[in-house]
């Protein structure tokens, strides 16, 4: 807790010495109520089967703060802190407190881009074990995740080099049953907590050749090395493809990518050896106030044994937004969209409207209907003191196909300075 407090102080005030800073902060108080009968409460992740966990809690508080700024015209940074405390154990972790810190430092010139990123997620300690990591026989409880990332891009003439590497360290503890050493009873056993680490390295190398302003070809290698489990959870991808990106005119633009990669991994299996990925995104700006896009993604594999192309998943998105009453702090709007993803039961339709009521008070209401998963109803009343300061009252009710439902009511404020 002390550690989090120090990090919060540093992010909020320590960086304040640089000029050209933008701060975004949001504080919200949450009240949860649920009728979940399943093992897992989707929002809080609390397992009702796990021992010693308080799943009865009702309240939560979340504080998010993001600071972006420039040290000089080449170096900039972005620091983000997200602390969530609830009196109910949440998010699969048997944890009441989650702190998520992300620090990014960028160096950018006309031809070079360099990023260093450090992420830390901290989960406070709980008693029980139900997080299963592959290769670890006992249930585990993760306490900290550290992730250091280096990303470098450089243009040389028509060539672009892209190199990325990410090191991830998961610190977790697990419970084992072992003899209690100071017990008089020779046979007496008790739970002992042990700690362990899991290390992974993810690396990417990509070379792109710009054939023209719109056409590019690329080749790409992606490697994942699990440093604990020898080669069992390793992965190697080798491939390449072609990209087309063009603004056709003021109203229309298109991006498309077609790529193939060969995947080698014992954990994923031979079916996913030959992968094809197709992406098309067509953005259409109608005459203001109408805007929208349609995008399509397809993942397929070529199965050697059956000599057949098989589809893994399709994603079609259609989105349309109409804005009106644009003279206020915020535009009022109506939007609607479709997500079509039959392979993963991810089909959904959604709609939302935002209406200026009076004196900078806005009402937003939305519904998201995913027939195989849930229906989500949301409503928000937001009062703007200015375009940079607001307070709001929000409610979200999720109905998991009549099996269970949960409601979150939040009172919060947003501040940009």
């Amino acid at each position: 807790m002390k550690k989090i407090f120090i990090i919060l102080l540093l992010t909020t005030f320590g960086i304040g010495q640089f000029s050209a800073l933008t701060n975004w902060s949001q504080l919200s108080l949450n009240y949860f109520s649920t009728t979940a009968k399943d093992n897992i409460d989707i929002v809080t992740g609390a397992s009702q089967n796990a021992n010693n966990i308080n799943t009865k809690g009702k309240f939560g508080v979340q504080y998010q703060h993001e600071v972006t700024g420039e040290i000089n015209d080449k170096i900039s940074f972005d620091v983000k802190e997200d602390v969530f405390y609830s009196d109910k154990s949440h998010e699969q972790r048997n944890s009441f407190l989650v702190n998520d810190l992300r620090v990014k430092i960028f160096y950018q010139t006309e031809f070079t881009y360099f990023k260093f990123q450090f992420n830390n997620r901290y989960y406070d300690s709980g008693e029980t074990n139900f997080l299963n990591l592959p290769g670890v026989e006992q249930g585990t409880q993760q306490q900290t995740a550290n992730n250091a990332i280096l990303h470098y891009k450089h243009d040389v003439g028509k060539l672009n080099f892209n190199i990325y590497t990410s090191f991830r360290d998961l610190e977790y503890k697990y419970i084992v049953l072992s003899k209690i050493e100071d017990s008089k009873d020779e046979e007496e056993e008790g739970n002992r907590a042990k700690s362990a680490s899991d290390y992974d390295i993810y690396s990417l190398g990509k070379i792109t050749f710009n054939i023209s302003d719109a056409f590019r070809i690329f080749s790409r290698t992606y490697l994942k090395n699990d440093l604990n489990k020898s080669s069992e959870l390793d992965e190697t991808e080798l491939g390449g493809g072609v990209e087309f990106e063009k603004r056709l005119d003021f109203f229309n633009s298109i991006f498309s990518r077609f790529s193939y990669y060969n995947l080698d991994s014992k954990a994923i299996g031979d079916l996913f050896t030959h992968n094809l990925l197709t992406e098309i995104r067509y953005t259409k700006r109608f005459l203001f106030p109408l805007a929208g896009f349609v995008s399509y993604k397809n993942r397929s594999v070529y199965d050697d044994t059956q000599s057949k192309l098989l589809r893994v998943s399709n994603l079609v998105r259609v989105y349309l937004k109409y804005s009106y009453q644009t003279q206020n702090i915020l535009d009022s709007y109506v939007l609607a969209g479709i997500k079509y993803n039959p392979e993963n039961n991810g089909n959904m339709v959604f709609g939302e409207f935002n209406q200026f009521l009076l004196n900078d008070l806005y009402l937003t209401a939305g519904v998201k209907f995913a027939p195989e998963l849930f229906t989500l109803y949301s409503g928000k009343l937001e009062y703007y003191f200015s375009s940079l300061k607001s307070i709001w009252l929000k409610t979200e009710y999720t109905d998991f196909n009549n099996k269970s439902g949960q409601n979150i009511i939040s009172l919060g404020s947003t501040l940009i300075f």
Binding site: I42, V43, G45, E91, Q92, R93, V98, D100, R102, K104, Q117, N119, L131, N132, L133, P134, Q142, N147, H151, Y164, S166, L170, D198, D200, Y202, L204, K224, L233, E235, K246, L248, I254, S256, S265, A267, G269, L271, F272, T278, I280, R281, Y282, Y296, K297, N298, S300, K308, L309, L310, R311, V312, S313, K339, E343, N344, N345, G346, M348, K368, L373
Partner: protein
């Protein structure tokens, strides 16, 4: 420009043919649409096997060697970015 206008319908047709003409794989696979992901990190926290982490461009990426296809991330994603 003329070439561009010609190629668009062909690309769409190609995609649609890929969909109609193929059988589905038996094991589902989840991926993240990086154009929709807003980097909120909720999927990372809910994933029971720690299969998700931020990747290049700071967007969430699924490590397929760890994913057990439980589908929890698709339910929690506020941007419907998982497919």
């Amino acid at each position: 420009m003329k070439f561009t206008k010609k190629i668009i319908p062909w690309l769409f047709l190609f995609g649609i043919l890929l969909y109609i003409g193929c059988d589905k794989v038996n094991n589902p696979q989840y991926n993240i649409d990086d154009t929709s992901c807003n980097e909120c990190g909720r999927c990372i926290q809910i994933c029971p096997v720690d299969a998700i982490e931020f990747g290049p461009n700071s967007k969430a990426v699924i490590d397929q060697t760890k994913c057990n296809q439980c589908g929890r991330c698709i339910t929690i994603c506020p941007k419907d970015a998982i497919y």
